[in-house]
Amino acid sequence: MAGTADIVIVGGGHGGAQAAIALRQHGFTGSILIVGREPDLPYERPPLSKGYLSGEKTFERLLLRPAAFWAERGIGLVLGRAGTHVDPAVKRLILSDGRVISYGTLIWATGGDPRRLTCDGADLAGVHAVRTRADVDRLVHELRGGARRAVIIGGGYIGLEAAAVLTKLDCSVVVLEAASRVLARVAGEVLSNFYEAEHRAHGVDLRTQASISHLFGTDGHVSGVCMEDGTVIPADLVIVGIGIEPSVAPLIAAGAEGTAHAGVRVNAQCMTSLPDIYAIGDCAAHENAFAGGEVMRLESVQNANDMAATVAQSLCGDARVYEATPWFWSNQYDLKLQTVGLSRGHDQAVLRGDPADRSFSVIYLRGGRVIAIDAVNRVKDYVQGRKLVELGAHVSPLRLTDVTAPLRDLLDDDVLVSAPPLDT
């Protein structure tokens, strides 16, 4: 069976869906086809570790658009199929069911696959990822079946959000983090320490520098985790939240610049090195000005959405470069964390407010310039601090710590004007 479309989008997540939506919004009249690996219509992924896991939100409420929308806008959907081979010379995509699709332009928006444990027992039933609806449905099924002892491997956002939900569902929760602190990859020490204390206060048994030896099971189902030091932690279910690997193998095999781990390399227009093939979202390795020009992948809704918008506008004749401000959020318990900018590479972290009040911000600086803000229950700082990040503002740490002075007021500071350009 063969098919053809002017624009074929591989991946039906936030990036893929938004690319199609934005193409139509910007007046694209050609044919659009989305190929999605999951059987479901495009849906919001962030609630999977929050409101959908807790049962507060039904799946139908996560749909990015109603079912009828896609047909009404002339956006074709092939669901439950992955794109497995790309032949850029003849501009053809081969799907997991053997179907061949000819494209004019290909947008690769496949996101990633949860990284898996490599130790013994990693394949036991009851070992879960939190990446897709199906993952969470399986998890919820076990919880309904009475599973109450949860071990979460990985103290990143996914693991910590899941921990917060599971404690609310009366589970006993152990979080095992290999590094010396949680959120080490994405946040500074103050934030890590704060979240560790919060989780412990909610009854989570959180262990850092935790080295796992293997998982073990009974009748093929996980029943515990054995640590390197011989400690045994009983478990009814295990959640593995240790990051993702970008789903880019078909593009790399087709000759695209990039690697299986680092993602597919894109230029400022989100174009890969292959003709008429773009890549967006979690899988796209791009130079990010907010990281001093470092080539990186960003795993966020913001990044997927804004890259999709950039590509859609370019394809509609309005050439754009991707330069959107990174932002992110995470909800755990009654804590609303909002992040703007990228804190990696900071040489100074300034605390604004007192973590004991459960409302504070951490402002990250590099060379005296504001590069990122983590705001916990402090929406005002997030909103007002965005400009400081976007300008790379030079502000004295002392002024940043003064909670009586709104961050907005620092914008009028004359030091901003005299600041030299950001070295990227």
Partner: protein
């Protein structure tokens, strides 16, 4: 169900049904109007579902929380009646609500 009117950015009014207990953001999204990004999915973490309340029940034109108020401050289009539609939970006394979708920031 209640009747609500949503004006898209070009001013065209759309009558749509609102399921009580759901948010206005969800009602707009379910209707197929795709002018709202609503990026955070309704958890009051961004400001991409901004609307102007033009007519409706008493008090709807005032943000209900400090977080919503602060987030609305991020929009250069904020004006009296500005709300984040994810923070408006539809109820029987909101029959006849009229909102206009705010310009994109």
């Amino acid at each position: 169900m209640i009747d609500i009117t949503v004006k898209t950015r070009n001013g065209t009014p759309h009558q749509l049904p609102g399921r009580m207990g759901r948010t206005l953001m969800e009602a707009i999204r379910e209707s197929g109007i795709d002018e709202l990004l609503a990026l955070c999915g309704g958890c009051c973490s961004c400001a991409t579902c901004h609307v102007f309340v033009e007519a409706g029940a008493e008090g709807l034109e005032v943000p209900t929380s400090k977080d919503e108020d602060d987030l609305l401050d991020s929009s250069e289009f904020r004006r009296p009646g500005s709300r984040l539609s994810c923070q408006l939970t539809l109820a029987a006394d909101m029959e006849g609500l009229v909102v206009q979708i705010a310009p994109e920031d």
